[in-house]
Symmetry: C3
Subunit: 342 residues, 3 copies
Amino acid sequence: MSKTNAGYFFEDYRVGQVLTHATPRTLSAGDVALYQALYGPRFALQSSGDVAEASGLPRGVVDDLITFHTVFGKTVPDISLNAVANLGYAEGRFLSRVQAGDTIRAESEVIGLKENSNGKTGIVWVRTKGFANGDRPVLEYVRWVMVRKGDVTAPAPETMVPELAEAVAAEALQVPEGLDWSDFDFDSSGEPHRFGDYAVGEVIDHVDGVTLTDPEHMMATRLWQNTAKVHFDVTARPDEQRLIYGGHIISLARALSFNGLANAQLLAAINGGAHANPAVAGDTIRAWSEVLDTARTENPSVGALRLRLVATKGAPGALRGEDGKYLPEVLLDLDYWAFIPI
Amino acid sequence: MSKTNAGYFFEDYRVGQVLTHATPRTLSAGDVALYQALYGPRFALQSSGDVAEASGLPRGVVDDLITFHTVFGKTVPDISLNAVANLGYAEGRFLSRVQAGDTIRAESEVIGLKENSNGKTGIVWVRTKGFANGDRPVLEYVRWVMVRKGDVTAPAPETMVPELAEAVAAEALQVPEGLDWSDFDFDSSGEPHRFGDYAVGEVIDHVDGVTLTDPEHMMATRLWQNTAKVHFDVTARPDEQRLIYGGHIISLARALSFNGLANAQLLAAINGGAHANPAVAGDTIRAWSEVLDTARTENPSVGALRLRLVATKGAPGALRGEDGKYLPEVLLDLDYWAFIPI
Amino acid sequence: MSKTNAGYFFEDYRVGQVLTHATPRTLSAGDVALYQALYGPRFALQSSGDVAEASGLPRGVVDDLITFHTVFGKTVPDISLNAVANLGYAEGRFLSRVQAGDTIRAESEVIGLKENSNGKTGIVWVRTKGFANGDRPVLEYVRWVMVRKGDVTAPAPETMVPELAEAVAAEALQVPEGLDWSDFDFDSSGEPHRFGDYAVGEVIDHVDGVTLTDPEHMMATRLWQNTAKVHFDVTARPDEQRLIYGGHIISLARALSFNGLANAQLLAAINGGAHANPAVAGDTIRAWSEVLDTARTENPSVGALRLRLVATKGAPGALRGEDGKYLPEVLLDLDYWAFIPI
């Protein structure tokens, strides 16, 4: 039985340790079609090779969340196989665009450790980097998770809590090379709203709802080679429910956000995010967005919107209760930057 | 909230209005594989690049219903987001073949309007055209839908009911350029039956049944970027059932019709069609066909069969009751032309 | 109704008869992505074009079970449409590797017949061969099935039971041309275990469980154009359960076996196999493997492991009861050879 990978436990991590994640993966038009079938995105740049080309990008540029999920999936066997909770994201930046045919690999550096006072679990911070075709950086982000100790008698490591930016600075966003939206065809995207039409504080209800099913989230999660057993095995939990991979909710909410944000076509950064409550099959997901900030970039045709994207089950309402905690119907609270034509 | 698209209401349409539908889409081998997984077609020309090439067509020619669904899906946000019912099709013609890699766009012209006597809804007729890679026509058809009024006090438009052909004339069918079935390999297709083996009035029971599931029709419907909420959101209806996109039933019935019509490999026209009753998960679909007409074409190796394709839930039986209405187990009554080797 | 294919009955087969199976199929990156979504494999060689190339194989080499399912699916309309049971496999060999873009066809020769004493059914043995792009052999195997008689008064054929090897001899395994694992990157595959680390008799528990759903097995089965109705139609059985295609369990178990056998990356042969009990949606599948034999090949960088792969529902336990029969929780008992770096 010794050949089976049991995953890392809290005491197996050291600050400075670099984990080379296994099973690099070559993405294809098949992954793009499955992403379409599972989430139904309609952003014009990824839907149409003609629109991508007219924007100065290669045909077949994939949705940025495909990049995110692929990199994230690679990290699961080394980071979160024994995780109790996925606690947060910070300092996420999309560094270059991925096309069908690119081969993605990932590595993570442990940048923080803190044992919990119960002595049974601890928090691990990692900075993960994704690369295409060898060494072209495509994505980096910090994630922290609560991990079980395998041996509760293992001594606590020295506490090291990394300082993380509250948000990625607008100046640090990487506008894709060659992107030119100076003559963008707003008929192709389905909405006329451009950078200047959005104001800080504006809230957009994305209207539509989608009821979740088990086969869909399982297929999505396998597509990214994410092996966490709670997503697949009804015997893993007393309630016999499969917990849905948090990234599934991110992609569904992002696809719903087309309705009102059709021109926010590329992700630029992930400032932070919380999977506030677990989702299961049967839940009906709705989403709303709030404009948190706006910024011009060095590219005169490209602006950036900082957006809060909230996914709920049931009708959207308040975000937090009087105790400051997320309400039980809130599933996702994601803070990100997106690029939009000026 | 004003940025969210609420869709068109009946009073928003004018005869002669041209709607340029958004989100052009580049089809790929991924869409073809998903179509295979969702419906299980076995028509040799689309299954095998070798058979396509031997027939004088390019490798990777896609099922004509992929073309239909992609064009149809584009029209939903502008035509049927507030539709109460999809009433009919006419004058549908497949004008050229689509391959993986082609980018499909669509536009529709409003050709008829008639407010209903209740003053709350009206009927809208549109002629929709699909194009590949700019301006190559691939499909056109007329569809009419019943649409809600957004403002019941809006005045009724002048009534304009278009005259529509009962069926596409055999002479108007567009045989694909280069198609040559003079030396077709009937071993590859699985059945020996060719044009001359079918007689008007002949009825073919396609035997097999398929029980519907929610994840499958949702994945199919998203693949075509069809956003009508009744397909996805169990809270949209009092019975908490997701209604299945009518095109899902067309594709399932067409795939079942392989058994007896294996050589009717290309769609030529859609003469008419009714989604007689809604389908939901758990229904088991069966299908039968009737040969309505036969015609030779200007291509000596290519004949055309005019077929009625009927999908039912439960065992196939009669089509209409004594009152002339479709029986409740009838889901689809489609009248189309297909090409078959002579 | 005469145009509908009712399938072959026992009395329709003759020893020496060659069946050319219909609907050749061109595989694509879309099939590979669906295989990923349905089973979640992580074997590095098929996951990454870079790893394939570094191993001397073409980018886009597909999982060997995609080859198996595609060939198998082609045989169903001619071999097992009226089958009562799929009894066994023998002498299976993977002869060359399939890439996206290859067109697969199949033919079978009847090599044995034996009517059962009840006079209502009989056993048919066939040797099936799969070819790519015309005549390149990719796979061959013997399968035997129990088939119903259509006419119980038809005379029994002369009994002919073929002699079959208990296992494919190590010397008969076809190492893929060009395969070079002398410098394999074990970081990419996720486990350090190579040929010399496995010992005959060693048992590996693959740990994870996956709960089955109907839409997933139906999509998989359609992808291979396998039309056996018990997989799709709840009205085909009194218990209204869809029986799951046995190959679905093979693929799931093989994907689970990554955990402990990550470097056993290519299938070499199928020595035998039993679908011990049927599986239905809701069952949770687990798997374990036993090393039955090991062998070096003529390629100094490539070894072969003979493995028993067992899939169970519920926790793995014993294989057979005191009566020598498989226990009811055993679903699959597969005996195969795989290639692994030395």
